[in-house]
C-alpha cells in the first residue's frame, strides 16, 4: 500500500479551509473575552442556507452570500443573549447549537418531505477552484498550492490579517485588553459591547461561509448535522494555537493532514481497520496534542465570563 504524499498535502490544504476560517473568526472573538461555542451552529446554518440558495436559485455566489448572512443572524442572536443580556456564554452556545441542528433538520424536511428518498436532493454544480493557468504548471509546488477554492486563500489571508490586527494595531490592543479585563477596558472608554458585537457578527458571516463549503463545495447536498463538530474542532485548535493566528494556520494544517490521511486509510478498504476507528483519528490527534502542549497555556483572562456594568 502506498500513499501519494503530494496528493495528501493537497487535500489537507483544502480540508483545512473550513476549520481555519471558523478558527480565525473564533480566535478574534475569544481574544475579546467571549467564548462562542455557537460557531459550530453557525457553520451548520451556513451549510444549510448555502445548499438551499444553490438549490432554488442555482447561483453559487448568491448561495455563499446567503450562507454568510444567515450565519451572521445566528451569531447576532448569540451576541444579544451573551453581550447585551450577559447570559452564560457556555450554556447559550450549547443551546444555540442544539437549536441549529433542530432548525436545519426541520426546515430541510419541511422543504423536501419527511421521507428520505434513496437519492437525496442535490445540486448539479459545486464551487470551482480558481484557475491560475500557467502558475499551476510550476514544478512540485505548483500543483500543491494552486488550484484550491478561493475560500482557501481567503482563509489564509484572513489569518494573517488577524495576526496583524491583534498584535500590531491599536484596535488589537483594545480587543486584547477587554479579553483580559472588560471592566478596566470599559472604564478607559473602550466600547466593549460594540467591539464584541462587531467581532461576533463577523464571526457569524465567516463561519457561515465556512459551513457553505461542506454543502456546496465538497459535497453537493445537505445532510443532518453535517458539520459533525468541526466548529468544536476549530475551538480546540484555537487553544492549541495559544490564541495566535499564525500558529492557528499550522495547527489547522496538521489537523487536516491527519484527516486526509484518515480518509485515505478508509479508501484503502482495509478490513482490519474499521472506518469508525479511522474517523476517530483527527479528534484523537487533537486530544493528544492538547494534552502534550495545551496544559500550560493561558488564555484571555476574562474568557467566557459575562460582563455587565455596575449601576
Amino acid at each position: 500500500m502506498s500513499i501519494d504524499i503530494s496528493g495528501l498535502i493537497f487535500s489537507a490544504i483544502s480540508l483545512m479551509t473550513p476549520v481555519l476560517l471558523a478558527g480565525i473568526a473564533e480566535l478574534l472573538v475569544e481574544r475579546s473575552g467571549v467564548l462562542n461555542l455557537g460557531v459550530e451552529g453557525a457553520m451548520l446554518i451556513g451549510a444549510f442556507a448555502a445548499f438551499m440558495g444553490a438549490y432554488y436559485y442555482g447561483d453559487l455566489g448568491l448561495a455563499s452570500f446567503i450562507a454568510a448572512l444567515s450565519g451572521m443572524v445566528f451569531c447576532a442572536l448569540f451576541a444579544i443573549l451573551t453581550v447585551s443580556l450577559a447570559l452564560n456564554q457556555m450554556v447559550t452556545g450549547l443551546a444555540m447549537n442544539l437549536l441549529a441542528i433542530g432548525i436545519t433538520s426541520y426546515l430541510y424536511r419541511a422543504s423536501f418531505g419527511w421521507y428520505v428518498s434513496p437519492i437525496p436532493p442535490h445540486i448539479k454544480e459545486t464551487l470551482k477552484p480558481i484557475d491560475l493557468g500557467a502558475l499551476s504548471e510550476m514544478p512540485v509546488v505548483g500543483k500543491l498550492i494552486f488550484g484550491h477554492l478561493p475560500h482557501t486563500y481567503f482563509a489564509i489571508i484572513l489569518a494573517i490579517f488577524g495576526w496583524w490586527l491583534i498584535s500590531k494595531t491599536g484596535i488589537g490592543l483594545k480587543i486584547r485588553a477587554m479579553g483580559e479585563d472588560p471592566q478596566v477596558a470599559d472604564s478607559l472608554g473602550i466600547n466593549v459591547n460594540l467591539t464584541r458585537y462587531t467581532l461576533l457578527l463577523a464571526e457569524g458571516a465567516i463561519a457561515g461561509l465556512a459551513g457553505s463549503l461542506l454543502s456546496i463545495g465538497y459535497y453537493n447536498m445537505f445532510l443532518d448535522n453535517m458539520t459533525q463538530g468541526r466548529g468544536y474542532v476549530a475551538i480546540a485548535l484555537v487553544i492549541l494555537a495559544r490564541w495566535n493566528p499564525m500558529l492557528l494556520i499550522a495547527a489547522s494544517f496538521f489537523f487536516s493532514m491527519v484527516d486526509a490521511l484518515q480518509l485515505r486509510i478508509q479508501a484503502l478498504g482495509l478490513t482490519y481497520i474499521p472506518p469508525q476507528l479511522a474517523l476517530m483519528l483527527p479528534y484523537l490527534f487533537t486530544i493528544i496534542v492538547l494534552l502534550a502542549l495545551g496544559r500550560k497555556v493561558r488564555g484571555p483572562a476574562a474568557l467566557a465570563r459575562s460582563y455587565k456594568r455596575q449601576r
Binding site: L173, A177, E180, S187, A301, R309
Partner: protein, 494 residues
C-alpha cells in the same frame, strides 16, 4: 468657581442600602482635598459618582458651572475628571507602555510621541517609569504612577485617589506626596481618601469628613487643631491606645523556614533563600519595601504557592496543616465576592464546620461563627446573607481579619492587616493581634506601616531583594537603621 461640584447627592444601592444622603462636595483648582470617614461612611461611593463609575439616585453634578450627567467613567474623563481606584485599573499581562496607550482613548498619538510625552510628564513629577516591563512585575507604587501618568495623558484636571497610601511604605508615600504637590502647583484639583489622619494634615488644604453617608464636617486645614479632634469627629469618640502587652515569647519554635526559594507567577525568583524561625507567642515583623518578596514568602508559608526549594515546617502539626492567613490582596485571595458574608466567614475552614460522615454543612454552627466574626470587629453588613461585594473595602478587610483571628490556629500570617481600616478598627485589630500573641500564637506580621511593626513586633526581620538582610531584637529597634536596611543589599527601591 470650583472645577466640579456635587449637589445634594443621594445614592441608594439596589437592595436598599443608602450609601450617600444629600451630600454636597466640591473640588477647586490647585487644591488637595482630603476625604475622611470611618469604614462604610460612603467615601468610595461618592467618588465613584463623581468620576462616572456610578450613577447617583438623585442629585446634580456641575463641571465649571455647567450641569452634566456622567454615563460612564469615560464620560467623566471627557470632562477632565479621573479616578485611581484601590484596585488598579491596569492589565497586568500587558506592558506599561501598552497600558498607557490603552488609556489614550480618542487622542491620536504615535508610539514615539507617546514616549516623549510620558518622558516629559515623568520628569515633572519625579517618576522613572520602565516602559517595557509587564505591569505584573511592578510594585504598588509603580502601578500607581502609571495610573497617574495615564490620567494626565488624558488631560484631566481633577484626580481622585481612593486610599492611595494604604499599600505604600514610608519612602514611597513621600514620593507620592511630592507628586501631589507638583500636580497642585500646576493647577490640578486633587481628592484623596485616607484613613491616616496625619497624612491628611500633612498635605491637604481642605478636609471633608463623612459619617453614615452624610458630610458631618468641612474644614480648612488651618481650622484643624490636632489629630484627636479629627478622630473624634470621624467616629464620635477618642481612641485610647491600650498599654503594651507583657512580652513573654517562649524559646520554642513553632515554625521553621529553611532556605526557601519562591518564584512568582511569571517564574521570576522573588524569594532567594530565606531562613528564620517563629516562636510561640511571638510577633515577628517583616519590614521591607513592597515587592521585595514579601507576598511570595507569605503565600509559600500559607501553602498557596509551592516553593522551588527549601522547607516550611510547622512543629507539632501534621503535614496538611494550614496556618491562618490574611492576604494583602483581599479581593483576589481573601473572599469570594459574590458569596454571602456567612459563607465567606467559614470559607477557609469548611471541614471544621461540617458534621457527620458525609460532611454536611452545619448551618447552626456556621451562623453562630459568622455572627461572632461580624461582631468581633464590627463588620457593617446589610445582613449575614448579603454578598460580600455589597460591603465597603474596609468592612471586607474586617471580615477577613476577624475570620482568621477567630479561627484559633497556632500560627497566623498577617499581610497588611490594617490596610484600609479606619483608626478605631485598626486599633482594634492591633489589640487583637497582641492578645493573640500573649495566648501563645506565633504571628508573622508583614506591613508597610513601620510604626505598626515597631509597636507590635518582638523581632523585626528586614527583607530586601528577596533576602532577609537582618533580624533586629526588640531592644535594638531603631526606625532609621531599619529603613537603611530596607534599601540595602540589592533591595530595589521602586
Amino acid at each position: 468657581m470650583p472645577i466640579i461640584e456635587l449637589r445634594k447627592i443621594t445614592k441608594v444601592y439596589p437592595g436598599g442600602i443608602v450609601a450617600n444622603r444629600n451630600v454636597d462636595f466640591d473640588v477647586k483648582e490647585g487644591e488637595i482635598h482630603a476625604l475622611l470617614g470611618e469604614n462604610g461612611a460612603g467615601k468610595t461611593t461618592l467618588m465613584k459618582i463623581m468620576s462616572g463609575g456610578l450613577k447617583p439616585t438623585s442629585g446634580e453634578i456641575y463641571v465649571n458651572g455647567e450641569r452634566v450627567n456622567f454615563g460612564s467613567p469615560a464620560d467623566a474623563l471627557k470632562y477632565g475628571i479621573g479616578m485611581v481606584h484601590q484596585h488598579f485599573a491596569l492589565i497586568p499581562s500587558m506592558t506599561v507602555l501598552e497600558n498607557l496607550r490603552l488609556g489614550l482613548f480618542d487622542r491620536k498619538l504615535s508610539k514615539d510621541q507617546l514616549i516623549v510625552e510620558v518622558g516629559e510628564l515623568s520628569k515633572r513629577l519625579g517618576f522613572d517609569l520602565r516602559l517595557d516591563v509587564p505591569v505584573d512585575a511592578l510594585s504598588a507604587g509603580e502601578r500607581q504612577r502609571i495610573e497617574i501618568i495615564r490620567l494626565l495623558l488624558r488631560k484631566v484636571r481633577v484626580l481622585i485617589f481612593d486610599e492611595p497610601t494604604s499599600l505604600l511604605c514610608g519612602p514611597e508615600i513621600d514620593r507620592f506626596f511630592q507628586a501631589l504637590k507638583q500636580l497642585k502647583s500646576e493647577g490640578h484639583g486633587i481628592v484623596f481618601i485616607t484613613h491616616k489622619i496625619r497624612e491628611a494634615l500633612e498635605v491637604s488644604d481642605r478636609i471633608t469628613v463623612m459619617r453614615e453617608g452624610r458630610v458631618i464636617a468641612k474644614l480648612k486645614r488651618s481650622e484643624v487643631m490636632d489629630e484627636e479632634q479629627l478622630v473624634e469627629l470621624m467616629i464620635g469618640e477618642r481612641i485610647v491606645p491600650l498599654p503594651d502587652r507583657p512580652r513573654t515569647p517562649s524559646d520554642k519554635p513553632i515554625l521553621i523556614v529553611k532556605d526557601l526559594v519562591v518564584s512568582d507567577d511569571l517564574g521570576v525568583e522573588k524569594v532567594k533563600g530565606v531562613s528564620f524561625d517563629l516562636r510561640a507567642g511571638e510577633v515577628l515583623g517583616i519590614a521591607g519595601v513592597e515587592g521585595n518578596g514579601q507576598r511570595e514568602l507569605a503565600e509559600a508559608i500559607a501553602g498557596l504557592r509551592s516553593p522551588k526549594s527549601g522547607e516550611v515546617v510547622f512543629i507539632g502539626e501534621n503535614s496538611g496543616f494550614r496556618p491562618s492567613y490574611v492576604p494583602a490582596d483581599r479581593v483576589e485571595l481573601g473572599v469570594a465576592m459574590s458569596l454571602s458574608v456567612m459563607v465567606n466567614s467559614i470559607i477557609r475552614s469548611i471541614d471544621e464546620n461540617s458534621k457527620g460522615r458525609i460532611k454536611a454543612l452545619d448551618f447552626a454552627k456556621i451562623g453562630e461563627f459568622a455572627q461572632k466574626v461580624v461582631s468581633f470587629l464590627g463588620v457593617k453588613a446589610p445582613s449575614l446573607g448579603a454578598p460580600v461585594k455589597y460591603l465597603s473595602g474596609g468592612n471586607i478587610q474586617k471580615l477577613i481579619v476577624g475570620r482568621e483571628i477567630l479561627k484559633s490556629t497556632k500560627v497566623l500570617i498577617a499581610e497588611q492587616p490594617t490596610a484600609g481600616l479606619d483608626a478605631r478598627s485598626a486599633e482594634m485589630v492591633r489589640n487583637a493581634l497582641s492578645e493573640l500573641a500573649s495566648k501563645g500564637v506565633g504571628i508573622i506580621l508583614i506591613s508597610s506601616d513601620l510604626d505598626e511593626i515597631l509597636k507590635l513586633s518582638d523581632r523585626i526581620a528586614v527583607i530586601s531583594g528577596g533576602r532577609i538582610v537582618k533580624i533586629f531584637e526588640r531592644a535594638e529597634f531603631d526606625p532609621k537603621l531599619i529603613g537603611i536596611h530596607m534599601l540595602a543589599a540589592g533591595g530595589y527601591m521602586a
